[in-house]
Symmetry: C2
Subunit: 394 residues, 2 copies
């Protein structure tokens, strides 16, 4: 029976504890599963309450009619046992803090290092796929970018993902078309580990055009979400999903992003978590790269152009020295400035005497004499009739 005397319980709540939630009141795992349905991702008050009193007690408070009504209005649809059964039916599992497979890097989401409110760790993670989430994300890179990627962007995403997978990094991204899909496909192609963090339940294929890719990730890598099975994606959930991509990885690289792009929000979350952020440059004539250039200009993003540079960004120091690109060898390579000046003043035909060389080079006679001795040894200078001419060095 309802009445004004019941105050906040006027939201047609049953007086008794809903049957589906009874077990959750004494079980952290079930209670966290229930919270993942009661509160939207990134709800700061819910995260705080669960962190302070634990998920079961926090749940009991809601059942008792306390706390904001946004949680209470969802009590009737919370059935963590059914959600667990659903994820198991899809071959998946539920992870909660304390599990061996729980990625401890997510704890950074509860820090407020930059003075802003913490981003909020998820209550739990719903996971499908053989990858051991804690292990693979401990050495992982987020590769993110636009759905409306260009051929250039997809090419670079593939290159980076394959190169990172070759170096033993897991690739973490969303499940969208464009950069996300190109990165996953390339990582899987070289038998690397790829992880898609979704804004919907891990039993759903969104977007449906990526159904085959998502199902491959579910059997060869991992699908991860903080919302329970069956949940539909919303813009809000995509935004909050981005904090998980940032927190699960050692750093975030934006491969291609327009001036306004969700990928920039992932970069922003990574920056707030003190994770390194990389941006891949592109033609300034391409609006599809404007967001990357914006990160390079306005934020602390580092310009990255290869998997090697991304590995360096992620702190892979000393593992392999960064190499300059292979460049054409030129005749005067390896000469110091004085040697270069003298070598250049030697005639290709005929000969020039010491004083002539010194005058042309603008160097002292003694210096030129010493330099010519060195150039003779390296083959750059050859003694000729009355002086010197240039040697041919291949």
């Amino acid at each position: 029976m309802k009445g004004p005397a019941q105050g906040q319980q006027a939201l047609d709540l049953p007086g008794a504890v809903p049957a589906a939630l009874r077990a959750a009141l004494s079980d952290d795992r079930l209670a966290r599963a229930a919270w993942s349905r009661l509160a939207e991702p990134g709800d700061p008050a819910a995260a705080r309450l669960v962190a302070e009193v634990g998920a079961p007690l926090a749940l009991e408070a809601v059942v008792a009619g306390r706390g904001p009504d946004r949680w209470r209005v969802r009590l009737r649809e919370a059935d963590p046992t059914a959600d667990l059964a659903a994820v198991r039916a899809a071959g998946g599992r539920l992870l909660v803090p304390g599990d061996e497979e729980w990625p401890t890097t997510l704890a950074d989401l509860d820090l407020d290092g930059t003075g802003e409110r913490p981003l909020g760790a998820p209550f739990c993670l719903w996971v499908r796929g053989p990858a051991h989430l804690a292990e693979v994300t401990a050495r992982s890179a987020a590769l993110v970018g636009s759905r409306a990627a260009t051929g250039y962007g997809q090419h670079v995403a593939s290159d980076l993902a394959a190169g990172l997978a070759d170096r033993g990094f897991a690739v973490v991204s969303g499940g969208a078309f464009g950069i996300d899909a190109a990165a996953h496909r390339a990582a899987l192609a070289v038998r690397g580990v790829s992880v898609a963090v979704l804004a919907c339940g891990v039993d759903r294929s969104y977007p449906s055009g990526n159904a085959a890719l998502l199902s491959r990730l579910a059997t060869e890598g991992a699908l991860v979400s903080e919302v329970p099975p069956g949940t539909t994606p919303t813009r809000w959930r995509f935004l909050e999903r981005n904090r998980l991509i940032a927190a699960l990885t050692r750093g975030t690289v934006v491969v291609e992003a327009a001036w306004r792009s969700g990928a920039l929000s992932t970069a922003d979350r990574a920056e707030r978590l003190m994770r390194p952020v990389g941006a891949v440059p592109g033609p300034v004539t391409s609006p599809a790269s404007a967001g990357c250039h914006r990160l390079l200009r306005e934020r602390a993003a580092v310009c990255v152009t290869s998997a090697e540079e991304v590995a360096e960004l992620l702190g892979e120091l000393g593992a392999e020295p960064l190499t300059a690109p292979r460049v054409e060898r030129r005749p005067f390579d390896g000469l110091d400035r004085e040697e270069l000046r003298v070598a250049e003043c030697l005639p290709r035909r005929g000969s020039a005497d010491l004083e002539r060389v010194a005058r042309d080079a603008g160097l002292d006679l003694a210096a030129v004499q010493a330099v010519l001795g060195r150039l003779e040894l390296s083959g750059h200078a050859v003694r000729a009739q009355d002086g010197w001419r240039r040697g041919v060095v291949s």
Copy 2:
């Protein structure tokens, strides 16, 4: 008569002052012209000596057989009066420090701000063209890059040069093919001022393929060099020329440069002179942009993608606010995070009551009620039968 007793004068110097140098011993302008022939650009000892005792006395010392022999061996070919006549014959002039047209920013070349040896100011400048050098360089940008520029690089160089010229900046570059030529042509095309700093005499056309462009610069902008008329270009002179490009301008932008490129040395000189350095990104798949990306990664270069951003780099603050590129307007633009969450939960057809919307959005009833009021005003929400549906906002 020569003999061992004459010591350093053994370099078959005439005992008397060469006739061509007599006037220079009491004339700063002529003496500086002579020094521009005796010493190679950037000769630190020559710059120091001239700075300390003045050009005429320094010259007298050399004539008297003192100082390094690299200056003395060139005494015989020094004829400043003839050089002056040559530059005048080419319609040009000689500038020395103290002249009203002398760019005072060159004085920075004698500072050793970074603890390294100063780069060394030129003794004088040989100039052709109507531009007032001090005035135009006071508001100028260096646009530099590879000779082997791609179509992309030349396109961007043209865009930046035209945009800078439109904003009243003079464009300063070398006289080479590729980026240099594209920048000059575009600046001239919009009736801007363009200045080429050469590694050879201003009476020479090097490379000869740019003869028409150089002669246009000589009649509409300026050709500038620190070496006297007739001098041939050498690698050394190109390198030292770069310090003049850096010192004459308010900042240097590398438009396109390979991993090894002379343009990077101009950027290095600009950095040593505490001038801002910009780099234009390009496709990471293009070796022609590798030097620009290197500057962004390894140096303090700023990523620039438009003339507007270059102007900002050069300290053009507040003149015009940097604008975001024109982007497509989207239906939910302008909504805050809560409004977005509520708007997204409104059905397109039929209706949803307050509690249903609150449950879907994961927000409190009171908050949703307030938000719906705002969304109704903006047209994003429409009252329907028993609740609300989504409004269509164009």
